[in-house]
């Protein structure tokens, strides 16, 4: 596997050359959203300059070209995650909508009081709240696989929670706080033995490593385009074709119907049954450019580069005093996310200081409030990398942390 030329990759992302507060930007908030390569920005522009039309209707040339471009990306997504057919790919607004779609359309008519939905303690709110809503409306019960202090899942803990009452397991493939990659394959096998259906939240994993739904054996997978160099407003739900066939629609409207009477309607085939209304056509087309960009670099090469950088960052973090890390220190089954706190300093204060140095990180609860409570902190700082980040940028982060510590250690002059 050839090593990636990171400096040349950086040139593909126009925003990386901008300044923030007089310093060159160091963008380390990639778990929130990644920046966009020129190819994606141009694809949006080309779509609106050349092909814009509504899809799946109208017989004019533009409508035909737009439809073709949109559907081609569906096939591209299927290939990207090694799905058996493009019919298993539903376009949504984001991973959150994908999970809500599945929770509602699969779960509402299937779950009975006492059925169990199994999650982990480290789910993003988007893979927690939809299941709370579903549990509330069906009488199903939520159960949680505990995670270790480093964000690992022990399979014994999985076995302790799964039972014949488990109807659905929804877990993250990679934690947005700890960066840990879960043993999804083993968990899926165990869940399937209990007859449960498994949805994976792939929002953090799919952008950063090779993911094959065939190899994982998951029944559904949700992820967002904007975390993988694509535009905002596009998400993907992969689900087994037979599940999609049997599921109720999610939203009603145009596009998702076969025939409509005044008081009833029949549904379009999958996946269009789940795509009511005009979708984000331009966004989906530009997402295709993002996927092509990722494929050109190669997901294995991206993973290798990000792992190397994360290992370097962990080494630099280990040199710091007065800093607490929350994820694993070792690199096994770990992605490019580092959550940390500086002693005596709220992450928002740290975030403001780093921003003044041009360094963008996330500070807050990372949409994982139950996990923050478990860790006993109101919030953490989080640095998350993409393939375009460099060791020099990690150094800028570390130096900015040291500078902030120095500022807060100084004794303010007593006034009055």
């Amino acid at each position: 596997m050839p090593k990636l030329d990171i400096e040349s990759i950086r040139k593909d992302f126009p925003i990386l050359s901008r300044d923030v507060r007089g310093k060159s930007l160091v963008y380390l908030d990639n778990a929130a959203t990644t920046q966009k390569p020129l190819a994606v920005i141009e694809a949006l522009q080309t779509y609106y300059s050349r092909f814009n039309a509504n899809i799946h209707r109208g017989i004019h040339t533009l409508a035909e070209e737009a439809t073709e471009a949109y559907e081609a990306v569906r096939a591209q997504v299927a290939r990207f995650i090694d799905a058996p057919s493009e019919r298993t790919i539903v376009f949504t607004r984001n991973a959150t909508e994908s999970i809500n779609l599945f929770a509602w359309a699969w779960g509402r008519s299937r779950l009975r009081p006492g059925d169990e939905i199994v999650l982990t303690e480290m789910e993003h709110h988007s893979n927690l709240v939809p299941w709370q809503l579903l549990a509330r409306s069906t009488g199903a019960v939520l159960r949680f696989i505990p995670v270790t202090d480093e964000g690992r899942i022990e399979l014994a803990a999985v076995d302790a929670v799964l039972s014949s009452r488990t109807k659905l397991v929804a877990i993250t493939l990679m934690s947005n706080v700890f960066g840990t990659v879960t043993s999804a394959k083993e968990i899926i096998e165990r869940a399937h033995r209990q007859g449960a259906v498994v949805l994976l939240d792939g929002a953090q994993a799919v952008p950063h490593m090779p993911v094959s739904v065939k190899e994982l054996g998951c029944d559904a997978l949700a992820f967002s385009a904007h975390k993988m160099f694509g535009p905002t407003g596009v998400g993907v739900l992969y689900a087994r074709a037979d599940l999609l066939e049997a599921m109720d629609p999610f939203l009603g409207g145009g596009e998702m119907i076969l025939d409509v009477q005044l008081t009833s309607a029949t549904w379009n085939e999958v996946p269009w049954k789940f795509e009511a209304g005009t979708p984000n056509i331009g966004g989906v087309v530009a997402f295709g450019a993002a996927l092509a960009y990722l494929e050109k670099l190669g997901m294995s090469a991206i993973l290798a580069a990000e792992q190397e950088l994360t290992a370097y960052a962990l080494k630099r973090f280990a040199e710091l005093e007065g800093v607490t890390l929350y994820g694993p220190r070792d690199m096994s089954n770990r992605g490019a996310v580092i959550a940390f706190n500086v002693d005596g300093l709220h992450p928002h204060d740290l975030g403001t200081f780093l921003d003044a140095e041009g360094v963008a990180i996330r500070a807050g609860h990372h949409c994982a409030k139950p996990l923050m409570r478990k860790l006993g902190v109101p919030a953490t700082a989080r640095a998350s990398f993409a393939v375009y980040n460099t060791r020099a940028e990690v150094d800028r982060l570390i130096e900015a942390i040291i500078g902030t510590q120095a500022f807060f250690k100084r004794q303010p002059e007593r006034i009055a």
């Binding site: 507060r21 300093l345 928002h348 204060d349 500078g403 500022f407 303010p412 007593r414």
Partner: protein, 144 residues
């Protein structure tokens, strides 16, 4: 870095963050009120002992960033001994200052003056504002 941020994190603010005044609880509080900024997790609880329309004693507790905790300390310090009407005027003045407006009434801000620098950092205004929002909520409850 320090040049740019000295205006936000003035010495008075650091002083109140590191050594807050009027921190604690009141067993005889007539108003107990808690508020939070849900997006960042800052939390504040104020205990006020109000007698005859005057804040005789005030204590606060909470967790959060330096700006939110320093503002809570400075506001508590400034409010103790004030009437509720004076407190309302002080809060109105602070709100005006955050929007770069001139306060309607001339009020003595004391250490709170140091918060003027916050308005240059719009994302941090809500950190400072938590303190007076919680107090306002408490006064509204008391008025009912």
């Amino acid at each position: 870095m320090i040049d740019q941020l000295g205006d936000l994190y003035r010495d008075v603010i650091l002083e109140h963050f590191q050594r807050p005044v009027r921190k604690g609880q009141l067993a005889d509080a007539s108003i107990k009120v808690t508020g939070a900024n849900p997006l960042c997790g800052d939390e504040l609880t104020y205990h006020l002992a109000v007698q005859g329309g005057r804040i005789e004693r005030i204590r606060f507790s909470g967790t959060g960033c330096a700006i939110s905790q320093a503002a809570a300390s400075m506001l508590a310090d400034q409010l103790e001994g004030k009437t509720l009407a004076e407190a309302a005027k002080l809060i109105a003045a602070l709100k005006a200052i955050m929007q770069s407006e001139k306060p309607a009434d001339e009020v003595d801000l004391g250490d709170l003056e140091a918060l003027e620098g916050v308005r240059k950092f719009p994302v941090r205004v809500k950190c400072a504002a938590l303190s007076w929002n919680v107090i306002e909520q408490g006064m509204a409850q008391a008025g009912k």
